[in-house]
């Protein structure tokens, strides 16, 4: 079904620009749906998020893995039938492992992440405002250092665009199918062995 030889062109993300007309309506509807789902899932709540990191509450991982499962099962066929582009970003082992570790430490301190924090603000969890202040300050701090980081950490080991399926010499549809089964199995285990 999914043949890498028949992929539509993997274009770069279009340049950031103003948003008008249907794009604006789409951003509102999709964003509101995202926030609605996050809040309904309970991931705007401090205890659910921190509970995941304490391995007491597995709501976050269940939501993420189900979203990946369903998303993957749709996006790869849609891509194959030329209904959408993939939006791949470069794999940079140094920047992404350091960035991920810093992010995780911050995650444990504030408990909300950038998306769930927006939902938390909507539900009136005002402690997220401190975190949002930090997110804005941290973003500017990064921008201050971005010239130097671009020339150093971001270049270290840069692999460009890389898919997990590139590591195995099998057709992409075989890899995707196997991966979907693996996700299903992990979700089954989580459901079986966790209370929440």
């Amino acid at each position: 079904m999914i043949d890498p030889g028949k992929l539509v062109a993997e274009t770069e993300a279009p340049p950031r620009g103003g948003v008008r007309g249907m794009a604006f309506v789409g951003a509102i509807l999709f964003g509101a749906a995202f926030g609605f789902l996050l809040q309904k899932g309970g991931v705007g709540k401090y205890n659910v998020l921190i509970g995941q990191l304490l391995l007491q509450d597995f709501t976050v991982v269940k939501i993420i893995l189900t979203a990946i499962l369903v998303g993957m099962a749709g996006v790869f066929p849609l891509h194959y039938f030329a209904k959408c582009n993939l939006h791949l970003t470069p794999t940079r082992p140094a920047a992404q492992s350091i960035g991920g570790l810093l992010f995780g430490a911050g995650f444990a301190l504030i408990a909300y992440c950038p998306g769930t924090g927006a939902a938390a603000l909507g539900q009136g969890s005002w402690d997220v405002l401190f975190g949002i202040g930090g997110l804005i300050a941290g973003s500017y701090l990064y921008a201050e250092m971005s010239g130097w980081l671009n020339e150093t950490v971001l270049k270290w080991g840069d692999k460009g665009k890389l898919l997990l399926s590139d590591f195995l010499p099998v057709p992409r549809w075989v890899f995707v199918s196997g991966f979907l089964l693996l996700l299903l199995f992990v979700l089954f285990l989580l459901d079986r062995f966790t209370d929440r």
């Binding site: 279009p14 103003g18 948003v19 604006f24 509102i28 964003g31 995202f34 926030g35 996050l38 309970g42 705007g44 205890n47 659910v48 921190i50 990191l53 709501t59 993420i64 990946i68 998303g71 993957m72 996006v75 849609l78 209904k83 959408c84 939006h87 791949l88 794999t91 920047a95 992404q96 350091i98 960035g99 991920g100 810093l102 992010f103 995780g104 430490a105 911050g106 444990a108 504030i110 992440c113 950038p114 924090g117 927006a118 939902a119 603000l121 539900q123 997220v128 202040g133 997110l135 804005i136 300050a137 973003s139 500017y140 701090l141 921008a143 010239g147 898919l163 590139d166 979700l187 079986r192």
Partner: protein, 195 residues
């Protein structure tokens, strides 16, 4: 992490977990809907953003855009000279509107579900760390700084990498998310075991 989970699971089938942090997150209110329903909904939403909007779900760049907008008001020349803002000029773009709408969606969900919290400190935080707002504020702000710096360095957060990148099998996204959770779990456990 999977191995760790399974080893732990094998020891404690269907019951509580081994480590005792003095508080249990599941004693407090959870989600109104099943996590599988919510996850599937987000998965379907990703089909829609991919096909109809040509965009992926992501959140962290919103905060960088806001920082850039503030920076342009306070120090226009300096902000516009920074490499990140030359590559990503701070504009009210699709991702910016998307996250503003996420706040609205969170409100609509909480409002219709009778879950508006209107609180400065979550009860679980109070039970563990007391009711000092400056303590929560300081830790929350520091966490935000670390999180945003990490998200920009890794080029994505738990949405952009954790959902949108991983569902495309993007290798860097899986690496980022695994690092996020390793460090998040260790830091949270440290935070909840320190005296």
């Amino acid at each position: 992490m999977k191995t760790l989970l399974m080893v732990t699971m094998a020891g404690y089938p269907g019951t509580a977990w081994a480590m005792d942090f003095g508080v249990d997150a599941t004693d407090y209110e959870g989600g109104a809907w099943s996590p599988y329903l919510v996850g599937a909904g987000i998965g379907v939403l990703s089909w829609l953003t991919f096909t109809l909007a040509g965009k992926v779900i992501g959140a962290s760049s919103f905060y960088a855009t806001v920082a850039g907008m503030i920076g342009r008001i306070l120090a226009r020349k300096h902000t516009e000279s920074l490499a990140y803002y030359r590559e990503n000029p701070p504009r009210a773009d699709w991702g910016f509107v998307f996250v503003l709408a996420t706040i609205l969606g969170g409100f609509l969900s909480a409002w219709t579900g009778g879950e508006i919290r209107d609180e400065w400190l979550h009860p679980m935080w109070v039970d563990r760390f007391g009711d000092s707002l400056p303590l929560r504020g300081g830790i929350g702000f520091a966490g935000g700084v670390l999180m945003a710096f990490g998200a920009r360095l890794a080029d994505g957060c738990t949405s952009g990498h954790g959902i949108s990148g991983t569902l495309q099998l993007n290798a860097g996204s899986w690496l980022t998310v695994i690092c996020m959770f390793i460090s998040g779990i260790l830091t949270a456990m440290l935070l909840y075991t320190l005296p």
